[in-house]
Symmetry: C2
């Protein structure tokens, strides 16, 4: 399908992407029939072929406002671009799940995606694992999100999230701090700093990863857009992990999308006394999500038979280890397993310190427990 789009075609896509609130199944099917240029002309001239009864209604408010050229200019100015299903980097396979009839009503494949950053959309959408959770995250949730993010990028996964405060932000930051790839899927235009406090973080993601949105430049965030956006987070991830969620967290909606789209869903447990783990515990107890405790179980979720190989092999960065963790790491042999007592002796650390370093390194995927003995992963 992909060819090099000319300016007329891209402007047509840009027009269609704004003329109705996405996702719009009516526009999609018109476009399938006529192609973007004729579809755009039909909408503009209000003369739509029979068989597309909903197009006129869906586009009534915006048909005469054609800001396609400006939208594309703004995008170019900020280092962004419009990716359409006719472009080589269109993530057709990940988005295919959205075309199923039972999800199309509320979901549907996006017509096009605005993206900002050096990442290739189809690459990031196939190597992504979503880490999502409460905006009001706890210190514990932030610690786990950060640890999972750095573990995932060390294994060449992209950390996908929603750019929000709390778990989302920590996940993106953890990926960036470990020099990895990360993708923020937004509920507003790619040129908006939402939330405002994340202006710098979003700029950094746009600099080194990808900021993605179904909404044209300038679109403000709105409640319904978060729900619509969540389907894209789930669709463009090999698995979705809820790190923390209170009883009514927005993460529950992303989780529901994951299940609807057949994406493996994991949830991280936490203290039962913590309000921000209630949603995770509920999903696990109700058998909606798999309990995940660290990088190994998250990757097992996304690639159950180790089917996905991201190429660069297993070299895991030890840059982010604490001093104790580094000593424990150095005390572990290149091959084979050793007991905690042996590690304690070699590392010159007390058993409790070794034990807590190992627990953290187990979460970050640096070590593996094997019948009570420990080895490098």
């Amino acid at each position: 399908m992909s060819h090099h789009l000319d300016d007329t075609e891209r402007r047509a896509w840009a027009y269609l992407a704004r003329v109705a609130e996405p996702p719009c199944a009516a526009i999609e099917s018109l476009c399938d029939e006529l192609g973007p240029v004729e579809a755009a002309a039909a909408v503009r001239s209000r003369s739509v072929p029979a068989g597309h009864p909903l197009v006129l209604e869906a586009t009534a408010a915006r048909a005469e406002i054609d800001t396609a050229a400006e939208d594309l200019e703004i995008a170019e100015r900020i280092g962004a671009r419009l990716v359409t299903r006719d472009d080589a980097e269109w993530p057709g396979w990940p988005l295919m799940s959205l075309s199923q009839s039972d999800t199309a009503a509320r979901g549907g494949v996006p017509l096009a995606l605005w993206v900002r950053g050096p990442g290739r959309l189809d690459d990031l959408a196939t190597t992504g694992i979503a880490l999502v959770g409460s905006r009001a995250a706890s210190g514990y949730g932030e610690q786990v999100a950060s640890s999972l993010a750095s573990g995932l990028v060390a294994e060449n996964w992209t950390v996908t999230s929603g750019g929000a405060y709390g778990i989302d932000g920590v996940a993106h930051r953890g990926a960036l701090a470990s020099g990895g790839s990360t993708m923020a899927v937004m509920a507003c235009g790619i040129d908006r700093d939402y939330p405002a406090g994340h202006a710098r973080l979003l700029a950094e993601i746009a600099d080194r990863g990808l900021v993605v949105s179904e909404y044209p430049p300038g679109t403000t965030a709105a409640k319904h857009r978060f729900l619509t956006r969540n389907r894209l987070v789930a669709a463009m991830s090999a698995a979705v992990v809820v790190v923390e969620a209170g009883r009514r967290s927005g993460a529950a909606n992303t989780a529901a999308w994951a299940r609807k789209l057949g994406r493996p869903l994991g949830a991280v447990p936490g203290p039962v006394t913590s309000a921000t783990s209630i949603g995770c515990h509920q999903m696990i107890a109700d058998d909606l999500a798999v309990l995940v405790t660290g990088i190994r179980s998250v990757i097992a979720l996304a690639a159950p038979d180790g089917a996905v190989d991201n190429g660069r092999g297993r070299t895991r960065s030890t840059d982010r280890l604490t001093a104790d963790e580094q000593r424990v790491h150095d005390a572990l042999p290149g091959r084979g397993s050793v007991t905690i007592e042996e590690i304690s002796f070699s590392a010159g650390l007390d058993i409790p310190d070794v034990r807590s370093a190992l627990a953290r390194m187990d979460v970050s995927g640096h070590v593996v427990n094997d019948a009570g003995m420990w080895r490098l992963s």
Copy 2:
């Protein structure tokens, strides 16, 4: 079956209970055939009927040591007694699970049980929920065990455990502190203070609940006895809950017995960064245990359709609430649900304080969340 045992019969049981290391299927089957008095005589005189080939071997070391009279005297002196299957308080129904052929080899029904305390064994064994876990419990684990224990006794459940340091001890203490019933099943004689640091706790349990052992007075704790004892904890409980367990915790053995005996098994999640929750997470992830987060889910586990009614109704003690919790409690209406904001206003507490009080009271079963609103349970 039950009748009032005469002294000869009870001495025969006491002799048989010590003459082989329990559980001993050979003695059990001899006793089934001959009754206790003749079985004891046969063992003592080394003339066992054909069809019981293993009895002589199993009793070779101890057949000539008859301390039955002294054992019963010691028991009487410390307020204990020997309960046999011919006694009215024998928990025949809970122990029946142990008579299944596939478990008899390593398990089997105990021949008799030494018990110390005012509790009636069959009552406690049918109203018991076991709270078990690591000896090296974390502060978090202790907090949850204590909260669950007080919540369980408020609902008229007995808290059953193994009298050990860590989770066991906190569970017993929590039950006693809330004026409830608790049963410690020991891996040593009921007259031994094991562990030594629990002498006072065990005395209190013997004073107000029940200390139980398959082992005659004077028996010391030994590794194999802990494993054998664990089957009794599981058998005499309507459900087993692992509050905390490291990777190689003894609680895993009790959990395995629960599954073998068909007892519902729950596990409490905790921080994934905590070594003492690793075993719990593993059991949940492997679908061996149900994730439980508080008193409601624990009771649902033990009595899935609310089938068990322990009589005294739902009055839940508020004696153990903190000042904040008490204010939140008082701010909740007798009927119907209210929002956190409403509670905050009525209680004169900040939202975060209300939220954390509610989370704790949810665990202890004082409140229930209903579509984001809160009510008294």
